[in-house]
């Protein structure tokens, strides 16, 4: 289960809409499994079909989270023409990352779609998103 505030969820959705038709991406940091703050990241690919964290920005964010004794709770990104479900590319990259949760947003229609997943050794499992 991914637990986050309405404010953080609204910021994820707003980021996804703002960057559409390109994919957006970012980090949700947490403490003891509860989301604490959000970092909007630049999509170095500026692409409607993929994202890559800008390496310099990622180093700053990783340090800031680590220095605050917080955890990399979730990575979020948008799919702008397909469903909010991890792609093969997402599953591949998940195996090389440290995020407990993958939060996906789809902006393919005017209706927001947001879903959260754990991806463990390549196995995708959907989980509830709890908004506090």
């Amino acid at each position: 289960m991914l637990t986050l505030s309405q404010d953080l969820l609204d910021r994820v959705l707003a980021h996804a809409r703002r960057d559409h038709p390109d994919e957006c991406c970012g980090v949700i940091a947490g403490k003891d499994g509860v989301a604490t703050r959000l970092f909007e990241m630049a999509n170095a690919d500026r692409s409607p079909t993929g994202f890559t964290f800008d390496s310099a920005e990622w180093l700053r964010v990783y340090r800031e989270v680590d220095d605050a004794d917080e955890e990399l709770l979730a990575v979020y990104h948008s799919h702008t023409a397909t469903e909010a479900y991890p792609s093969r590319t997402d599953v591949l990259w998940s195996q090389h990352n440290e995020f407990a949760h993958w939060l996906l947003v789809s902006t393919r229609s005017e209706q927001d779609e947001v879903r959260s997943f754990t991806i463990t050794d390549g196995v995708v499992a959907e989980e509830p998103v709890t908004v506090t």
Partner: protein, 99 residues
């Protein structure tokens, strides 16, 4: 000669849980070979079979991404700091670094 290498959580299985280890080398490749001699297995996570920097990691020398320096040939000197991070990417089809 001693260079501090900061290791991300996902690779600490190779360093006995240590967040940072010391290593030596005149270039990044030399440093990675030195790391491998004491932390067997870590080199395969950093460098591909073809000998290129792995796309799943970012390596920084003094906070500069080595892809913008000399990649594995980046020269190192005493007191430099090296940071390894997991690269983060994904997407509906995949961007510049996809399959």
């Amino acid at each position: 000669m001693s260079i501090e290498v900061r290791i991300p959580t996902i690779l600490r299985t190779y360093t006995g849980g240590e967040k940072a280890v010391e290593a030596k080398g005149d270039t990044l490749l030399g440093l990675i070979d030195d790391l491998e001699s004491r932390h067997a297995g870590i080199k395969d996570r950093l460098i591909t079979a073809e000998g290129a920097l792995h796309r799943f990691v970012n390596i920084y020398v003094n906070d500069e991404d080595v892809r913008f320096l000399g990649s594995l040939e980046t020269p190192l000197k005493d007191g430099d700091s090296v940071t390894v991070l997991p690269a983060v990417a994904g997407g509906s089809v995949g961007g510049a670094v996809a399959l």
